[in-house]
């Protein structure tokens, strides 16, 4: 089971959500963030002082999926969120050890591996 953190452009959120749905990922969490990377800074001017808008509005998606869904999910995000210009964002993947569903109070049944584990026990 892996967590995928994807940082994308705000205006790509809806197409990304659609793409995720298409590959069967229906659960995720969305957070508006400010990011910095290779994208050129904007320059603001207030009362005669230029200032660096060194953070750009981005959207972060946090998605937990079974290991085997990772490649498809990553590809779906890249497909939907890419514009080819600086500032498209990043995807980071890391390990999740356990997942619980608060409603059932038990191990989450929406993740394949866990489902497997549950059935095994």
């Amino acid at each position: 089971m892996k967590r995928i953190d994807a940082i994308i452009r705000p205006e790509k959120l809806q197409t990304t959500i659609k793409a995720l749905r298409q590959v069967g990922v229906t659960g995720f969490t969305v957070i508006p963030v400010q990011g910095r990377g290779q994208q050129k800074d904007a320059v603001g001017v207030y009362r005669g002082h230029a200032y660096d808008i060194n953070l750009h509005p981005k959207i972060k998606l946090e998605i937990v999926v079974s290991d085997k869904y990772v490649p498809a999910t990553v590809q779906a995000i890249i497909g939907a969120a890419q514009t080819g210009k600086m500032g498209d964002g990043k995807i980071f993947v890391y390990d999740i050890l356990e997942a619980y569903n608060i409603r059932t109070g038990e191990i989450d049944e929406t993740i394949d591996e866990l489902n497997q584990k549950r059935e095994d026990t």
């Binding site: 400010q34 904007a42 603001g44 207030y46 230029a50 660096d52 808008i53 060194n54 953070l55």
Partner: protein, 404 residues
């Protein structure tokens, strides 16, 4: 100074103050209905109305509109005020009217028009386009005035014309990116701040009492109080009708429709407020409230993107209100007296003003596209006009700024 002139001066100046305050209403309404990233931009546009627009009308437009008549088409020389009203008070009041006409446009082209293009549009509208139209109906010897057209405070001259200019410019500048899908469906762009927008609607309604009753330009006009009452009951029935229709059609009591219903009722009663009875004002407002819900849908069907609903409120409501005088005028209306003449004249006005507004705006748009450009770059549109053109976002919670 005679008592009469003194009272008229006080009345007209206070009414003008109310009309000018409506700019604040436009600003809040529009800033609340657009997306956050362009809220500064629409606000700034209304300040353009209040600055460049005021100067353009004061220096040029007022003469064209209210100077001595030239061939029933335009005016020339010093503005001619009604008897017993100080000329400057009259001019001040007319300034408020001119920039109201311009402000109607600002919302319809929000979120994608260049700031510089808007400044030019406002100057042209306040110096030329609106004054000509105003002369026809309100100037000494204007051709429509001579035909007996009735437009007490501007359903046709200001709102229908302004609304169709809004339509023309919205068409000319094109819809916001991603507003319409390939299959014709519409993407909802959520308004950023409903309470702000509602504050704007209340200010507009408040100012409108000065707009309509002030158009007497005469405190001794026996219709003065009746005009004010007509204004308020039409606003009430407009809002009530719009929200009920919206609930029936779309299940919810949509705040933007409630506000636009109120405004549409106000727009529609503006032409007839001095000529119709109170029950007619209620009917006119209610019909305008129904109309605004449908007109909003038409624009989507025509694939024109009007972020604040300026056409539905001012264009549709203005045409209806102009027509309604022909139906409900207490002495010459079709339904009230059986006479058809006035209705025909009003029908003519319902063609002339929309056409004038629509064609001039398409023309101006055509020139702008070929010269300085009318539309911001796709990058700017995506990022929002606020930071690019005005240097600052509308809301800053995070202190994310350092000097360069």
């Amino acid at each position: 100074m005679s008592s009469e002139t003194a009272l008229n001066a006080v009345w007209v100046v206070l009414a003008a103050a109310l009309v000018l305050f409506m700019e604040g209403g436009f600003s809040l309404l529009e800033a609340g209905l657009v997306r956050t990233k362009n809220a500064v931009n629409v606000t700034m546009k209304v300040f353009v109305d209040l600055t460049f627009g005021v100067l353009a009308f004061y220096l040029v437009g007022v003469h064209l509109a209210f100077g001595s008549d030239v061939g029933h088409l335009w005016g020339f020389g010093p503005a001619i005020a009604p008897a017993n009203v100080p000329q400057v008070a009259f001019i001040l009041f007319q300034i408020g009217f001119a920039i109201a006409a311009a402000s109607i446009i600002s919302g319809a082209v929000a979120e994608r028009m260049k700031f510089s293009a808007y400044v030019i549009i406002v100057i042209l509208v306040c110096a030329l386009v609106y004054p000509l139209g105003a002369h026809w109906a309100w100037g000494a010897n204007g051709w429509l005035a001579n035909m007996g057209m009735e437009d007490f405070a501007g359903s046709a001259v200001i709102h229908a014309m302004g609304g169709f200019m809004a339509l023309g410019f919205a068409k000319s500048v094109g819809p916001r990116a991603q507003r319409f899908n390939a299959d014709g469906s519409v993407n909802v762009f959520a308004p950023s701040n409903i309470p702000l927008a509602s504050a704007g609607a209340f200010i507009l309604a408040f100012g409108w009492i000065g707009f309509n009753a002030g158009s007497t330009l005469n405190a001794y006009d026996p219709r003065l109080s009746s005009i004010a009452l007509n204004t308020v009951v039409a606003a009430a029935s407009g809002g009530a009708a719009a929200v009920m229709v919206n609930i029936v059609r779309f299940r919810v009591a949509d705040p933007s429709m409630m506000m636009n219903g109120v405004l549409s009722g106000l727009v529609a009663v503006t032409a007839g407020c001095a000529f119709v009875s109170h029950w007619a004002a209620v009917v006119i407002g209610a019909a305008a409230g129904v109309l605004v819900v449908f007109a909003t849908g038409w624009l989507d069907a025509w694939k024109v993107d009007d972020p604040v609903g300026a056409f539905a409120v001012h264009g549709a409501g203005g045409v209806w209100g102009t027509l309604a005088v022909g139906l409900f005028d207490t002495s010459r209306g079709l339904l009230t007296t059986g006479h058809v003449h006035l209705l025909l004249v009003q029908l003519l006005a319902c063609v002339v003003y929309p056409l004038w507004g629509f064609l001039t705006s398409l023309g101006i748009g055509w020139v702008l596209h070929r010269t300085i450009g009318m539309r911001v770059s796709p990058e700017t549109e995506e990022e929002g006009i606020d930071v690019v053109a005005h240097g600052i976002p509308a809301y800053n919670e995070l202190e994310r700024f350092t000097d360069l």
